[in-house]
Every structure is written in structure tokens, then in C-alpha cells.
Subunit: 266 residues, 2 copies
DNA sequence: CCATCTTTGTGCACGCGTTCACAAAGACAT
DNA sequence: ATGTCTTTGTGAACGCGTGCACAAAGATGG
């Protein structure tokens, strides 16, 4: 997952834990699927499976919203869809601007899930004059000179930044100054914003690196297991594995065993 | 942040907490910036600021990797870049396939940050025969019939899914069967995978919904504050606010005060 | 060699989130 | 009505992550 929190204090807004809020959209999606198939009610077990979470967690999550279930039966799908939608604020209209209409920005503009739930792409903005007027996803791109006016005219409070890294902070500053209070950032930079502004970031590169870490660990464990099986009682401890993995670290005096992948306890 | 964990147990791989792993790429990026500007050393305070985190947290994170700092001085930038890269497995080459070359897939293929750190786009795969052979980002798109062969030939262990939601699970199954053990999923679906396979998801729609929630809360708080200030001692409790926010809930007997935005304690 | 000053590395406490396990609540059959 | 059976809602325990605060380590100057 690509997630970047920027909360002053991990604010338990209105008593609903942040972790729960992050799962509500997941439940909502699963429920919408059920609703389309005209399923009237669903148990916590079923819904949890559909959302890919633990059923106890789901029940606790819903308990923060209130008691919307019926014991012995489950949850009313339609009613729950409405309650979650309302809780997430999806019953109202959220005009959104996308700044930076490159490959990614265009992809976002075309993304169906955007328009689906209360979100309306109010404007596409790019700094390149050549882009101005060119329609993307049926919406004409506007020049960034007009950013402030566009924000004001459309009452935009949510901005999406899909610019190159270098442009992200200046764009962010202008968005915030113009009145935007929530930002979804796709640029690979840490954004600095004043208090009261929420920033979430989606960083493809970071996600891949996290996967690489786990991938490497898996490979390492296999190697360790194989090595351990192959040795199974040699005189020396485990310098083989250590040497293999260490590469050319170059020592540096201390270099503790924090380096050695040390065959796992189990 | 868009983050979807799918870990059997929140595995503390090799002693490094998951939360720390997720921050390492952040540190690495900040360090790379310093390295390019030929900064020799950096203190935890400076680096933490650049990465947008607490300095105590950063030091604790690094302590899991070993003692790579010098007290009174700070951290050697180049050395730290190397250590983190090695820890994340970025010193080796990771061939990656992207499946689903629509708007988003094309954007990903063109994304620079992809190729930058050890990640190499080995192949682009799409189910549309019309796409086959067409070059995207300089790489010819291949038909999904050849998926298994492509995975095998290139020794791919990381796959990126950028297909429509409906195609995601089948594609995922084929990737896993072909030997992929890490998946980055952009499709708005919960993927089911066997043990030992890591899935991370990036979900634009979810991120927006989380922002909407906070946005709504901010608006609600303002309204509450205003209302509270306006009333300041009316006979009734707070039906004004409640009525305004409730919309047309329709009651449902129980409907507890979990519904009312109830003026915050503070 | 000693004193001082900076910055790391970490023990500790606290709070959030997850999970278990069960009592309460309601549906449904008899 | 009463009993059984299903499923919710939640109290309590546990574990992870965060942040404080400080002692240890080393650099630097005299």
C-alpha cells in the first residue's frame, strides 16, 4: 500500500480510529458489489471475507459507527452502504482538481473510480502552455496561471498533484493558499503543509522497494534453509552464509552481527 | 498513503519492523539528494527533517540496521545509502512485468522512478491483441498468451497489475502460478493469493475517500464551532446541527447518538 | 590528557490497533 | 411462550510502534 500520513496527532476524529476510516472504503466497495447483485443482508464473516479482513476487526470497525447489524441475521446491505457513504462524506459532491497532466495525470483523469463516488474532476491544470485547451478525458486542460481562480470558482477543497517532483511543493503551496485543505500527492517528494491541511501520498517507487525487501528476504531464507540443510553439523558456525550475503561491506570496525542473516530461530 | 498489507503475520522479518521497512525508501531518497549535492555527513535531525519524520524515530529505525552513525558527528551519507540499498535489496536487479497497458499501465511504464533503483521493466503485457507489438515507453507490448513464458524467460518475481478490476484476479493467479511472489496491485479489487506471496495495493479511490472523510470532518467541526458560538445558551440541546447533518436518514428505531456529530469535548 | 560539547543509540512508558472469546440479542422453529 | 441457534457487539489482553529523555560515545579544543 502507498500510504503517507501527515496528521498533527493521529487524530481520533469523532471517535473513529484512523485505521478504521482507512478500511471503510474497502467495506463500501464490497457492499456495493453485493448491492448490485441484490443481496439483501450479509454477515460479518461473509463481508469480511469479501473485503479481505478479519471478521472481528470488521465488527469492531462497524461498532464505531453505531449498531447497524441485527444479531442472528447480519447487516442490511443497502442501509450499511448508506451509512458508510454518509460517514465518509460521499453523499455530497467533491470537486477535485488534478495538477500535472502528464502520463499519470491523464491516467487519473480517465480513471473511472474517480468520478464514481461523489468525486467530480472539476478541472485539469498543467504548466505547459501547449497543453492548454487540449481535452483530456473530455475535459479541456487549463493553464496553471489560472489555478487560484479555478479553485475559487469551483469551490475545490481537494487537490491531486501529479507533477514532476520539483514542481510539487510550489504547486502545493499555491493550492493551499487558494483554499485547498486536502491533497493527494503522487510526486515523489515530502510535502510541507501548514496545520489543518491533510496530505496523503502515493509513491510507486516506495511500494516497489518494500516489495523488493520482502522478495530479498524470501530468497535469503531459502538460501539459509538450503545452507543449513547442506551443512547440518560442519565444524565452523556459519561463515559460509555470512560471507555470501555480506558482499563487500568493507568491515568498518564495529559491524555487528546485525549484518548476518543468522538462521532464523524457527 | 495507499497501503494494503497482506501479510500472514505482521512478520518482523529478520528483526526489522514493517513500519521501519516502509520508511527506509524515504530515508534513501533524502540521502540520495544529499549525496548528489556532495554532502558528506548528516545528523539524524537534518535527515529526519528532509524525510519528514521524527528524529528519534529515524535513529531507532537505523538502530535496527546496526550502528552506522558516529556520535557527535552524524551519519556518513554514502555509507548509509549503500547500507539501506543493500538492506532493501536494491543492489541487485529486479526484473518487473506490468500487466494491463491502459492509461495507468502506460503511465507506470513511463514512470522514471521505476527504472531508477534496480527495477527494470522486463516486459509489458496486455490482453488486447491490437496492442501487441506496439511500443510503449520504448518497450513493445506483448500479448498475455505469452505471460508464463515471459515470466520464466526473464526470471521475474515481481509483477504489477494495472488491469481493470475484473481481470485482476485471473491475471494474479497466472502470475503466481508462473512463479511471481510479489505483486503490486493497482486494480480496485481484493486479491487472494497463497501464503508466501506478498501483495501491496495502491488504490486511488480509497485515498480520495479517506481525504473526503477528513475534509467533511473539518467542515463539520467548523459548523459545530459556529453553531455553538451562535447558540451559546439556547433552551434546546443541539437539534439544529443534528438536523442539518443527518440528511434523510429515515430513522430506523435504534439509531443512537452515534449519528449526531455531537460537539467535540475540547 | 582532560574537559566540554555534540549527537547517537536505546531503555522505558504510553497509546493505538488487533485479536480472542463470550455474553447479549434477536430470529426461527416447535 | 419457550428453547435453540445464529450472529452481533464488546470487554479485556496483548503486541507493535512512537516518542521521551538520558546515558554512553566520540569529536574537538586547550
Amino acid at each position: 500500500m502507498a500510504t503517507g500520513r501527515t496528521h498533527r496527532t493521529a487524530t481520533r476524529s469523532r471517535g473513529i480510529p484512523e485505521a478504521t476510516v482507512a478500511r471503510l472504503p474497502l467495506y463500501l466497495r464490497a457492499l456495493t458489489g453485493l448491492s448490485e447483485r441484490s443481496v439483501p443482508t450479509v454477515s460479518s464473516e461473509e463481508l469480511a471475507a469479501a473485503a479481505g479482513v478479519n471478521s472481528a476487526k470488521l465488527r469492531k470497525d462497524f461498532s464505531y459507527l453505531g449498531s447497524y447489524g441485527t444479531r442472528g441475521v447480519g447487516y442490511d446491505v443497502e442501509y450499511l452502504v448508506y451509512q458508510i457513504s454518509r460517514e465518509l462524506g460521499l453523499t455530497q459532491d467533491w470537486p477535485v482538481v488534478i495538477v500535472g497532466i502528464g502520463n499519470l495525470g491523464a491516467a487519473l483523469a480517465n480513471y473511472g473510480g474517480f468520478a464514481s463516488r461523489g468525486f467530480r474532476v472539476a478541472a485539469l491544470i498543467d504548466a505547459d502552455p501547449a497543453m492548454a485547451g487540449k481535452p483530456v478525458a473530455g475535459i479541456p486542460v487549463q493553464h496553471s496561471d489560472d489555478l487560484e481562480r479555478i479553485i475559487a470558482d469551483n469551490g475545490v477543497s481537494i487537490g491531486v498533484i501529479a507533477t514532476p517532483a520539483g514542481a510539487a511543493q510550489p504547486v502545493c503551496d499555491r493550492l493551499v493558499a487558494a483554499g485547498v485543505t486536502s491533497i493527494l500527492n503522487f510526486a515523489p517528494t515530502v510535502l510541507t503543509v501548514p496545520d489543518g491541511v491533510d496530505v496523503r501520498k502515493v509513491d510507486l517507487s516506495i511500494e516497489l522497494q518494500i516489495l523488493a525487501f520482502h522478495e530479498q528476504r524470501k530468497a535469503g531464507e531459502e538460501a539459509d534453509a538450503a545452507a543449513a540443510a547442506a551443512e547440518a553439523g560442519a565444524g565452523d558456525t556459519a561463515p559460509v552464509v555470512a560471507a555470501k550475503v555480506r558482499g563487500g561491506s568493507g568491515g568498518r570496525g564495529k559491524g555487528p552481527d546485525g549484518d548476518v542473516p543468522a538462521v532464523m530461530p524457527a
